[in-house]
Symmetry: C2
Subunit: 186 residues, 2 copies
Amino acid sequence: MALIILAHPNYEKSTSNKTIIEALEKSSLDIKIRNLAALYPDYKIDVKAEQEALLRHENIIFQYPFYWYNMPAILKLWFDVVFEYQFAYGSKGDKLKDKNFIASFTVGAPEKEYNTLGEHHFRVMEFCKNLEQTAYYAKMHFINPVYSFGNSLNAGMAPEEVKQNAGFHAKKLIEVVKRLEAPLVS
Amino acid sequence: MALIILAHPNYEKSTSNKTIIEALEKSSLDIKIRNLAALYPDYKIDVKAEQEALLRHENIIFQYPFYWYNMPAILKLWFDVVFEYQFAYGSKGDKLKDKNFIASFTVGAPEKEYNTLGEHHFRVMEFCKNLEQTAYYAKMHFINPVYSFGNSLNAGMAPEEVKQNAGFHAKKLIEVVKRLEAPLVS
């Protein structure tokens, strides 16, 4: 079973994140979704409930749009309050040990802009060190993030194109999770 | 005049951020502080007020503790809502052009842990690409961040040591801002 931490401040109006979530729901994966913005419109996160959900799952997927080369604020708050001392780290903080940390995010601009000479100057993975080290510090397995480009209607993409990109993204994500769930063949 | 965007969820109980802010207040710098957590305990940021404060200043300092290799959630939310389309970016989004972007943050652990073989595996600057590119995208000047290590009482540092580190940090920050404010000698 996979836990989806959905962190989109405006999910109902999203195209790509919604397409991805719908594809996950239609897939054969057994998933449980926690929609943070819907659960906590006042930013008062129920730490116990979030920690208990984490304890019940081995694959933790963070689904969100890339905002300012980073995660949305509601997800940052989630890490700040849920990944507590003696839960996620510290001498007894091994509750997340060996769980899989899978970031899955949608990037508005096209891929060519995420290059040294492009508008955004850095490769996407250069913005992911904080995710990677957060996983390590919580003793989790950092799985290579799944991300896709050209997901913003604002950036001039056609709705059909955005949906198609999101569809490919979902397919990739589902494959990653299935591979993690597959029993090792001896 | 410098604008300080103070983003500490628990400022009253902080040692190092408080020491730094107090040193700034005692310095000869002309500063205006916006304490985000105090202004917006409900995370409902007044976008207009924040944008107007930005317009009145050339040096923008972000003062915060480093949480999970990143900024606290309240500051991330501030960027997400204040750095709007056609304000900070977009065809007419030049309102922040040529202002200085100065991140100033305190890191809990000692410096030796922020190395490939240390507990935190990466150098601090490797976690700063999102700040750097945020500045570029808003047409601001990215000033090398000011940061200091060993700022956490939780990490076993003595209070006097933490205060001393914060004092050095403040001194460095004040020098950076003074240099930016100094008129160019022709």
